[in-house]
């Protein structure tokens, strides 16, 4: 019997994990870093895509439509592979960080385009004419009346997307990125303490997302006053 004499009881060894804490924390920082960037750039692109998608001109709404279709209906895994290996085949060599960042931006922008579009359309048109009747320019109407109302309507979907973005960055493991999952994978393969490393990594993901949800909720209490 091959298994003879092999104990089925797993012995946890936590020391090695604690010794590698600096690397894990660094991985967690990279995770947060890439997600925040992917979120901020994703939001900026999504606003433009949403405005484009609402355009009456087919030529203008074409690109946003295709973007949204691909981003929402293909796996994030595929998008990361395309950015890393796909572009590589055409001689465009992105670092793992840039490849994962680009893929996350792509998918965030795709999802958020629909969120923004819904947000814009939820604001009554009469808010626009009332603002115009006070002599405001179109830019002022958007800056002071439409966007503030839209942002509070879409704030919760936005934080959901942020959390999703943090968790999805774990796919960085596939292209050897040094974010939390990639770091965990590398460290466990050196020590074979697989379970310990992944348990600690899972706890760190939990702490990061809880931290993000708590801080966004605190921020929302500060910036959003009044009711919609």
């Amino acid at each position: 019997m091959l298994c003879e004499g092999v104990s089925m009881e797993y012995q946890f060894h936590w020391n090695i994990v604690f010794n590698k804490m600096p690397q894990l924390l660094n991985g967690a920082f990279v995770t947060l870093h890439v997600s925040v960037l992917a979120m901020l750039i994703g939001i900026a692109i999504a606003v433009l895509l949403a405005i484009g998608k609402m355009s009456d001109s087919k030529a203008i709404s074409f690109i946003p439509t295709v973007w949204v279709e691909i981003a929402r209906n293909t796996p994030a895994l595929f998008q990361i592979y395309m950015a890393y290996f796909g572009l590589g085949a055409f001689g465009i060599h992105l670092s793992p960080y840039v490849a994962v960042l680009s893929a996350l931006i792509f998918v965030n922008a795709g999802y958020l385009t629909e969120t923004f579009r819904g947000g814009f359309q939820a604001i009554p048109k009469t808010q626009y004419s009332a603002s115009k009747s006070l002599g405001m320019s179109s830019v002022q109407v958007y800056r002071y009346i439409i966007l503030p109302q839209m942002f509070r309507r879409i704030y919760h979907p936005l934080t959901n997307q942020f959390v999703w973005s943090i968790l999805m960055s774990s796919l960085g493991i596939l292209v050897g990125m040094n974010e939390l999952s990639g770091e965990t994978q590398r460290l466990q393969s050196l020590s074979f303490r697989t379970l310990e490393f992944f348990i600690v990594a899972a706890i760190m993901y939990y702490v990061i997302t809880k931290f993000v949800l708590l801080s966004t909720s605190l921020v929302s209490k500060r910036i959003f006053k009044g009711d919609i």
């Binding site: 009332a130 006070l134 002599g135 009044g226």
Partner: protein, 241 residues
């Protein structure tokens, strides 16, 4: 003065205004009455350049409203407008609702804009609501807020588009009282209204709209109390029961 000359306005194939002529002098109160779809509200939107026109012209203090060279944002500073739906800005307090446009449009200092807003809010009886969010107020209060918000821009003319139509009956009085007060202040006003009694009481001139034209116009004692046209008589007998 506002001069409306042979104005035609269509939405697609539907011609809503079919040649409207109307002069409104400084200090005058003009009420526009008529059935639904007769074009009365559309005319207000055209005066304010929210809608364009296909023919004719509207001149406000020598400025052609729809001319290409006209700065319509600037023009709208002269023309306060209050809508059937009060359109409060729900993310701003009553005071912020009222002081925003003077700050960003008229470029007044924050302090000055707030003074102005407080004055107008006191004027319409909302002096105790500065820090309240409008969604917490009744329709009548929100409509008075909309009036104060427009007045804070110090307009020369006020356009009222059926401002009591969406209100509960018991709230109509407070809004009409505010309009009476404005008339006593000497404000030039065009009121599209279904309140025939109010129109008779406050107007210098009443215009009866029917199918896109002014069917009958004159002082209220003629148009409302003693209408000559059959369409006017029919309309009034319907709304006055």
């Amino acid at each position: 003065m506002i001069q409306i000359q042979d104005v035609h306005k269509s939405f697609g194939d539907l011609e809503v205004l079919k040649g409207v002529d109307l002069d409104v002098d400084k200090g005058e109160v003009v009420s526009i009455i008529g059935g639904s779809g007769s074009g009365k509200s559309t005319l207000l939107y055209c005066i304010n350049a929210i809608e364009d026109i296909q023919q004719g012209r509207i001149v406000v203090d020598e400025i052609d409203v729809h001319a290409k060279a006209t700065n319509q944002n600037k023009l709208r500073q002269k023309l306060g407008m209050v809508f059937q739906q009060w359109n409060s800005f729900p993310h701003l307090t009553v005071l912020e609702n009222t002081s925003l446009a003077p700050q960003i449009v008229l470029k007044k200092s924050k302090k000055e804009a707030i003074e102005l807003a407080k004055y107008e809010l006191n004027h319409v009886g909302l002096g105790d609501k500065f820090d309240v969010y409008p969604t917490r107020m009744s329709g009548g209060q929100q409509q008075r807020l909309a009036i104060a918000r427009a007045l804070a821009m110090r307009p020369d003319y006020m356009l009222f588009d059926e401002v009591t139509s969406a209100l509960d009956p018991e709230l109509v009085g407070e809004v009409l009282d505010t309009l009476r007060m404005l008339r006593d202040d000497g404000m030039t006003m065009i009121c599209v209204t279904h309140e025939i009694g109010f129109a008779r009481e406050v107007s210098d001139k009443v215009a009866f709209f029917h199918q896109g034209i002014i069917e009958e116009m004159g002082p209220p004692e003629h148009v409302i109390s003693n209408p000559q046209k059959e369409t006017t008589q029919k309309f009034l007998s319907k709304v006055l029961h």
